[in-house]
């Protein structure tokens, strides 16, 4: 990020914070299940919807690191709003920015940059979540155009988007060919379901999308038809990095709230923050927050190759969403009974944080894939003491199981968690500049050292299978 871009982003963040103190009420938005029109209008005026869109198409043309920084700020204020904006500036518009034709950009990207249109991205289906190879939505030729049929679920921004990027099979270009087709809510055959009633991020819109013989011209396919597998890595990587940055912003807010509460709450004649156990919790949260910032910093480097970008963004999303959950939960705990009361803001924050471990790639899947990358040499890292411990464990597993190790998903899942924690320790050391940051990075390294061991034993596969069989039998008898 250039110095000028950095200054512009800082100014935007300050402006957002000033605006938020008067106009963003996350709890009210949560209760009402949406955003007031004047809030969206103000975001349009600030240019928020065009952050990532190139200047020639009406946006600010900011890089991923800058967009992450702004989304992190928004997430610290309102998680639902960060979800809506993050989806728009990331997966909703990124493919069009990168691969769209000039005609498509003129027609769709300009109004998306101004915020006149909002974007949605529809990939998940009832039978295809983490396994996108299972999608059944199809775009097939009819006359000069295409006809799209299928169903999508969990479509973020579905209730107010004007442009849906829909992932569909395009069998005319090959058995495995998929493409992104832009659909409008008023295209005949497009049916948008009612808003889903959710555990968290309740002000953001999540809907189903049913497509019944939706006829569209061929110029609705973004870029080269049937080439979505080449377009998606960058788009999905942006999506994951933005989730990671949102988690970082939320965690910072949860930590700040815990610090303020424990400094002001007097128990046993002194502020809670004087108690050793409270201080230890706060120190752990602070170190974890710094590691999360470091993972966003690493994931938003677009100068690495595509494979490494994918791996880093998966690692950052999985690590930060787990970290966010931990920080929000600990913060609520440190608030005591107050944290359980809606007015404190902590219940909404905790509920909002939960989805991050699921969307944009369920963490179980990401950790399992990351573990496989580590076990089979697809992740390259500089040496470190923590890395040596992990590598020795992987070498022992490879010796014992050979390629069959890849079929033991439980081991891969644990390896992924261990590897991501170690990577976060390396990232934190790399990012630390000030004395305070060095302290935070060192504390995170100590925490990883303590947390690593339980993730590294070889599990007894036979016992896990026997336990599962016994559990299923009990449930069937009940």
């Amino acid at each position: 990020m250039s110095a000028a871009e950095q200054a512009a982003v800082q100014e935007l963040r300050r402006g957002l914070a000033r605006f938020a103190s008067r106009h963003i009420d996350a709890q009210r938005n949560d209760k009402e299940g949406g955003f007031p029109d004047e809030l969206l209008e103000a975001l349009r005026d600030m240019g928020i919807f065009g952050l990532s869109i190139p200047e020639e198409w009406g946006g600010s043309g900011l890089g991923l690191a800058s967009v992450c920084s702004v989304v992190s700020e928004i997430a610290s204020l309102d998680r639902s709003l960060a979800t809506a904006v993050g989806l728009h500036v990331g997966m909703g518009t990124r493919t069009l920015s990168l691969f769209g034709t000039d005609e498509q950009r003129e027609r769709f990207l300009k109004p998306l940059a101004s915020g006149e249109y909002l974007a949605a991205f529809a990939a998940t289906e009832p039978g295809a979540g983490s396994d996108l190879s299972a999608i059944t939505t199809r775009a097939v030729p009819r006359g000069d155009g295409l006809v799209v049929d299928g169903s999508k679920v969990f479509v973020t921004n579905g209730g107010f988007a004007q442009v849906f990027s829909v992932l569909a099979r395009m069998p005319e270009y090959g058995e495995a060919a998929v493409g992104l087709v832009m659909l409008r809510p008023d295209d005949p055959g497009v049916e948008i379901g009612p808003p889903e009633d959710k555990l968290g991020i309740r002000a953001s819109s999540t809907t189903t999308l049913h497509l019944d013989a939706v006829a569209v011209p061929r110029d609705r396919v973004i870029g080269s038809p049937g080439q979505a597998t080449l377009q998606l890595p960058s788009t999905l990587g942006w999506g994951r990095a933005l989730v990671a940055s949102g988690c970082s912003g939320v965690s910072g807010a949860a930590l700040a709230s815990a610090v303020a509460h424990t400094a002001g709450r007097i128990q046993f004649g002194a502020p809670l923050s004087k108690l050793a156990v409270v201080r230890e919790h706060l120190a752990d949260m602070d170190a974890l927050c710094f590691a999360m910032e470091a993972m966003v910093h690493r994931a938003s480097d677009e100068g690495v190759g595509e494979g490494e970008f994918t791996r880093r963004t998966c690692a950052a999303k999985a690590f930060n969403s787990e970290g966010c959950w931990e920080v929000c939960d600990t913060s609520l705990q440190l608030h005591g009974g107050t944290g359980f009361i809606e007015e404190s803001g902590m219940p909404v924050m905790l509920c909002d944080a939960r989805i991050n471990r699921i969307f944009d790639g369920a963490n179980d899947m990401l950790f399992t894939q990351l573990g496989a990358n580590e076990a089979f040499g697809r992740a390259k890292h500089p040496p470190s003491a923590l890395r040596e411990r992990l590598d020795a464990h992987i070498a022992a597993l490879r010796k014992q199981f050979g390629f069959r190790l890849a079929r033991n998903y439980g081991v891969m899942w644990r390896l992924g968690q261990a590897a991501v924690m170690v990577e976060a320790a390396e990232a934190a050391v790399d990012l630390a500049q000030s004395e305070a940051d060095v302290l935070r990075a060192e504390h995170w390294q100590d925490m990883v050292s303590r947390r690593l061991e339980p993730l590294m034993p070889t599990p007894d596969r036979g016992r896990i299978d026997a336990l599962f069989d016994a559990l299923r039998d009990r449930m069937e008898r009940a």
């Binding site: 396994d131 495995a176 597998t229 890595p233 089979f376 390629f403 190790l405 890849a406």
Partner: protein, 79 residues
């Protein structure tokens, strides 16, 4: 690298993953039909990358979903 060499290497990996004999692996059958997922795909890609000294896209086994098609693609790539 010849197609036979690559096919032999792939057959060895897949048969080890499936715990069957190399001859039992059908070169035209899709990897997914054998129950191999993106996790096993990473193991296969990792081995091929080390062996051929290449960086392969993560979606390689999506685009070339059988042993025969993957071997054909790798022959072109290493030619």
């Amino acid at each position: 690298m010849s197609k036979t060499e690559i096919e032999t290497r792939l057959r060895d990996i897949v048969s080890e993953l499936l715990e069957c004999g190399p001859a039992e692996v059908d070169a035209d059958r899709k990897f997914t039909d054998y129950g191999l997922s993106s996790i096993e795909a990473i193991a296969i890609l990792g081995d091929l990358e080390d062996w051929l000294d290449l960086d392969l896209p993560t979606n390689t086994l999506w685009d070339y979903p059988s042993l025969d098609r993957l071997a054909g693609y790798l022959v072109e790539l290493t030619a």
